[in-house]
């Protein structure tokens, strides 16, 4: 009844911590450097079954509870990982809901084939306001035309799941880059957080395979986004805790006026409050991730998801800011790690939707 990490999750957590320690996440060593796409870590994670581990083993996944997925993104957040864990899980969750038409692609995702997801026109993982793309059918074949301003993907994703207006409803379509040729243009956009891949997607009559059509599409998208938001919250939890740990480490070792900075009560109290916020976030993320897997929880999950992402954005921003401030001038340098958390946290509202908008969604979904 009451949540405690399953033994599997604890195991997975340790395995992932070791993995990230052994395979440091790349980060530009200076402003002039860019990081490439590193396929080897991704393949290794796939071999471990850590890509969208919540997918049923009958469908090619690891068949672990949803909490296991939350653990993978939390571990990723702690190292400001560049790996598309959230995107892959989003793709998997969407494909699961598309039945037969998604089955083949689904097992590929679990095996580590990168599939990008493009829902809202502007906000990569925000509530869908506009799809920005129109789907047209001709003789049983579909083509897509339009643009997505921001998609959370780099060029290594060879398939995109694209939400498009298809008649009176929306539809979800798979676009294969190889097959689409010149009808698809992907333009990389440099992000504030250099570990976040972004691109602009232009579609000009791109051939597409329909995965979901009709009135049910929006419900699929809503379910997918709920799970993405809980995943996003887990990722930001990882980042928030890591930033707090960094701050604690700095104030314990850095000395001013002959004493560690952390002896100052103002520092202590600020970090105690941050700790309290992060602790509450951890409870919330664990609870929400557990509820996703429980049979009676659909209504609760629908408002827990926006709630936890709103908490996570605020906590991650707060914690990262503390890490910068309490590191002093050092915290303002590229070399110090604090700004990695800062950029990740400050990007959250842009990538997932603002905390205020999520809070409003939560309130509405609870019927107030």
């Amino acid at each position: 009844m009451y949540f405690s990490d399953t033994v599997e999750c604890e195991d997975l957590r340790e395995v992932l911590e070791r993995f990230h320690a052994a395979h440091p996440t790349p980060y530009p060593s200076g402003p002039a450097e860019t990081i490439g796409v590193d396929e080897s870590r991704w393949s290794e994670l796939a071999a471990m079954g850590a890509i969208a581990p919540q997918i049923d083993d009958a469908l090619g996944g690891a068949g672990l509870p949803f909490e296991a997925f939350a653990v993978t993104v939390e571990a990723g957040g702690a190292v400001v990982s560049d790996l598309p864990l959230l995107a892959s899980a989003a793709a998997a969750e969407a494909l699961v809901r598309c039945g037969e038409s998604g089955a083949a692609l689904l097992s590929e995702v679990a095996a580590g084939v990168k599939v990008a997801v493009a829902l809202d026109d502007r906000c990569p993982w925000g509530t869908v306001v506009e799809s920005g793309v129109v789907a047209r059918e001709h003789a049983g074949s579909w083509t897509l035309t339009g643009a997505k301003q921001l998609v959370a993907a780099d060029l290594s994703a060879q398939t995109l799941l694209v939400l498009a207006d298809a008649g009176p409803h929306r539809g979800l379509f798979a676009v294969s880059i190889g097959a689409a040729g010149a009808t698809v243009t992907r333009t990389p956009r440099p992000a504030l957080d250099p570990t976040v891949p972004l691109l602009r997607l232009d579609l000009d009559g791109a051939p597409a395979a329909p995965l979901a059509l009709g009135a049910g599409t929006d419900a699929i998208v809503a379910d997918v986004l709920d799970r993405v938001w809980i995943g996003a919250a887990a990722e930001l939890l990882g980042a928030a805790q890591a930033a707090l740990d960094l701050a604690l480490d700095v104030v314990t070792t850095r000395r001013q006026f002959g004493r560690p900075v952390g002896v100052n009560q103002a520092v202590k109290h600020r970090l105690a409050d941050t700790h309290t916020t992060v602790s509450g976030l951890r409870s919330s993320v664990r609870y929400a991730a557990r509820r996703v897997g429980e049979p009676d929880a659909a209504a609760e999950v629908s408002w827990l998801a926006p709630l936890v992402v709103s908490l996570a954005i605020d906590a991650a921003v707060r914690s990262a800011n503390d890490a910068v401030q309490f590191s002093g001038a050092m915290g303002y340098t590229w070399e110090h790690h604090a700004h990695r958390y800062l950029n990740r946290a400050a990007s959250a509202a842009a990538l997932f939707g603002s905390a205020d908008s999520h809070r409003e969604t939560m309130l509405t979904r609870r019927g107030w």
């Binding site: 009844m1 009451y2 949540f3 405690s4 604690l248 104030v251 314990t252 004493r259 560690p260 952390g262 002896v263 100052n264 009560q265 520092v267 202590k268 109290h269 970090l271 105690a272 409050d273 700790h275 309290t276 992060v278 602790s279 509450g280 976030l281 951890r282 409870s283 919330s284 664990r286 609870y287 929400a288 827990l304 709630l307 709103s310 908490l311 205020d356 809070r359 409003e360 939560m362 309130l363 609870r366 107030w368």
Partner: protein
């Protein structure tokens, strides 16, 4: 009824639910709004009045007979030996049924843990059953006029005189002293000792003529807090818990229990407050204002955080793995700051009517004014927020101790 304790939790919950349906006296739920939160320093008078109702008395007798008063206590002292998750489920089920849980307040929650951890067998056998039946009702005698957060600077003296300790001094901020029969108190029994040494934890009776109680009018207009003057009040040495001069560690057990609170069930009260407020604001049409909505969404979200935090604390207690962040100070800081912020929010969202008190003699308050003013105490009593932050920083986060 101790057979409950062996059921798996979901079955336990069902069994308890049936038991309540079967045994709660007809009409009890209508006697009083038992789920109305009585949190912190809020008005307890209507609750006290309701507890004198015959149906409540009948319910109390049935719970006592079934071992469901102080059910988390060991069976040998009249409890049911329930684990914390079962005790929490019982509270939730009473809440759901709209019937009161019969509690013994400080006796149950603060004195009993100290007795169970530090008392002799004879002390447990004598005191615990009397707390359970309601014969002994406790108030707290820790704070003194010149020692608020700094407990160890206390000045109350206990003079050992044969088989008695004779206590003199002044206690303050003693909640509900006028309703209590006993006080658990700290006094210095070794003259010349300092700080944490030489302090004894003594249970004293309040009907002694040497006890004078002076209620302190508070900003709510009520006087739950009292000054208690002790002038040569005798207590048998039998009433010293944990040994003469060794009371500090007993006090720490009590303070730990106080700070720990009821992480998993307290939220029922907060939830009720915020839900009532949402309902009122909806009725007034104020929930159409996006800025009001934002503030209520923050408050409601924080109630949920506390629910989920309580859930994790309980799981941690049950599994014996209490991560950092599940400590009592983090919990106390969370709920008391929430409560204070909720109070502040009322003044911002309730509009002009917030300032209009009910008519009547004295200083009557409506529930929202009461919540606003009473919540000012939450971040002060049971360790101020400043003290909690120090504890978190040093004991949980491991930051270096400085002077403070």
């Amino acid at each position: 009824m101790n057979s409950f304790a062996t059921l798996p939790l979901p079955d336990f919950r069902k069994a308890v639910r049936s038991w309540i349906a079967e045994h709660a006296p007809q009409g009890l739920a209508e006697v009083h709004d038992w789920n109305r939160p009585v949190i912190g320093a809020m008005d307890t008078e209507p609750f006290d009045r309701a507890e004198r109702h015959p149906l409540y008395r009948e319910w109390e007798r049935r719970l006592l007979a079934a071992g469901l008063v102080c059910p988390q206590w060991p069976v040998e002292y009249g409890g049911s030996g329930w684990t914390p998750d079962r005790a929490a489920a019982f509270v939730e089920e009473c809440h759901r049924a709209g019937v009161p849980r019969v509690t013994r307040h400080m006796g149950e929650d603060l004195v009993a843990p100290a007795l169970l951890a530090h008392g002799t067998e004879e002390q447990k056998a004598y005191f615990l059953p009397r707390i359970r039946t309601g014969e002994h009702r406790y108030c707290q005698g820790f704070s003194e006029p010149d020692s608020g957060s700094d407990l160890a600077s206390l000045r109350t003296r206990g003079r050992v005189d044969g088989d008695r300790v004779v206590v003199s001094g002044q206690k303050t901020w003693t909640s509900l002293a006028e309703l209590a029969t006993h006080m658990f108190t700290l006094c210095r029994t070794e003259p010349g000792s300092s700080r944490h040494r030489g302090i004894s934890y003594v249970l004293i009776e309040l009907d002694d003529p040497g006890v004078q109680i002076r209620p302190i009018p508070q900003i709510t207009g009520r006087s739950e807090f009292c000054e208690v003057f002790l002038d040569e009040v005798p207590a048998p040495l039998f009433n010293v818990v944990g040994g003469l001069g060794d009371g500090w560690r007993v006090a720490m057990t009590t303070l730990g229990a106080e700070r720990g609170g009821k992480a998993s069930t307290q939220r029922l009260g907060f939830e009720r407050e915020v839900t009532d407020l949402l309902r009122l604001l909806t009725d007034q049409g104020r929930m159409r204002d996006p800025l009001v909505r934002r503030q209520l969404a923050l408050a409601l979200g924080q109630v949920e955080v506390m629910r989920m935090q309580g859930d994790r604390v309980l799981a941690g207690v049950m599994s014996g793995r209490l991560d950092r962040g599940l400590d009592p100070s983090t919990g106390k800081l969370m709920w008391s700051e929430f409560q204070r912020e909720l109070g502040d929010l009322l003044a911002r969202v309730l509009g002009p009517e917030f300032v209009v008190r009910p008519d009547g003699a004295g200083f009557p308050l409506d529930e929202w004014q009461d919540l606003f003013l009473a919540s000012r105490a939450d971040t002060i009593y049971a360790g101020t927020s400043q003290i909690q932050r120090n504890l978190i920083a040093e004991r949980v986060l491991g930051l270096p101790r400085g002077e403070h």
